[in-house]
Symmetry: D2
Subunit: 109 residues, 4 copies
């Protein structure tokens, strides 16, 4: 993976983490917070996995394939959950998660 590819991958992971944390924050402010329970849980999970993987990319981890595979699983699950809700932050988060999963899949060796 060259530097441009690493930057692309880290940007996708960062943007996904940011969207997940925003969605987590906004979901907790919603009136129908009970309906957002699953969304809040998976937002946190996905943000943590993306943050971990972002740092792993920056240190050229030899286990990047393992981390990326996990990232794809969690990002897709988060996109599925968030995609069911009409809130803008959920729809944006679903988009970022799908994009991140796509980019991660492309970089799995």
């Amino acid at each position: 993976m060259n530097e441009i590819q690493k930057d692309e991958l880290m940007k996708a992971l960062h943007d996904c983490m940011e969207a997940c944390n925003r969605c987590f924050d906004e979901c907790l402010k919603e009136d129908d917070v009970k309906m957002m329970e699953a969304c809040i849980r998976i937002d946190r999970e996905c943000a943590d996995v993306c943050s971990f993987t972002e740092q792993a990319v920056s240190r050229d981890s030899p286990f990047l394939d393992e981390y990326l595979k996990t990232c794809v699983v969690v990002c897709k699950a988060c996109a599925d959950e968030c995609g069911q809700h009409d809130h803008d932050h959920c729809q944006h988060c679903a988009d970022m998660c799908k994009k991140c999963a796509d980019v991660c899949e492309r970089f799995i060796a």
Copy 2:
């Protein structure tokens, strides 16, 4: 700090992280989840800070004092918030946070 002291400190941090994550999980299952918003947020924050600090202790970080001071601030804030709710998981979490803050304070050089 000797090995016994390190173990005591890591145990307090671990137990606090565990109590915070359990409280996070249980708060999201409550019917009155809207009332638990602040609790859910600070539970996540405190779990992350304790987890970070637990690993910093295990690697004898030269910045342990800084991390412990932050840990005390976050644990006390979490204890204050959780202590306001009657749920068993909140009361248990408040106890673990207070204990963790005490242990951390004792080990600040």
Copy 3:
């Protein structure tokens, strides 16, 4: 997974993280530090993966199987590397990594 099993799993992950961080620390103090390059790298990697997974166990993550599978891969690689060096800290680290990999494997659903 019941509470006793969770504690067993978190203990194995914690002990492995601790052994990896100690090995990282001690390897950097060795005179033959150049020979320890691979060991230093994988110690850090394994400590980070175990720390992440320890917290995931405490929050009953639905993605625990994915994390545990990754943990097994990294712990086994760390055990292989550390097992090649005669230093006590390397041998101890290899033992803890093997044990952690065994415990993780047992809990993969």
Copy 4:
């Protein structure tokens, strides 16, 4: 802090983390790795602190001031250590650490 400011802060933290992890990686490849011992240790520490803080910014943590203060301390220490070595990766890391410390200081409330 508005979105533009958050992006500026997260970028500084990300760039610093990346420079620290690159420096960690390159230091371990150097022939004079024994001389790089302190640099390797603080690179890891600083990368972890920046990564943690980057995520804290993205979730609008109420404890951001505490994290930023710690970040300033660790970034300055890393800049001091790396600045003593002539390797390009050390000089680049020192620059990124100084810049990150400056940006963090500006955002402490």
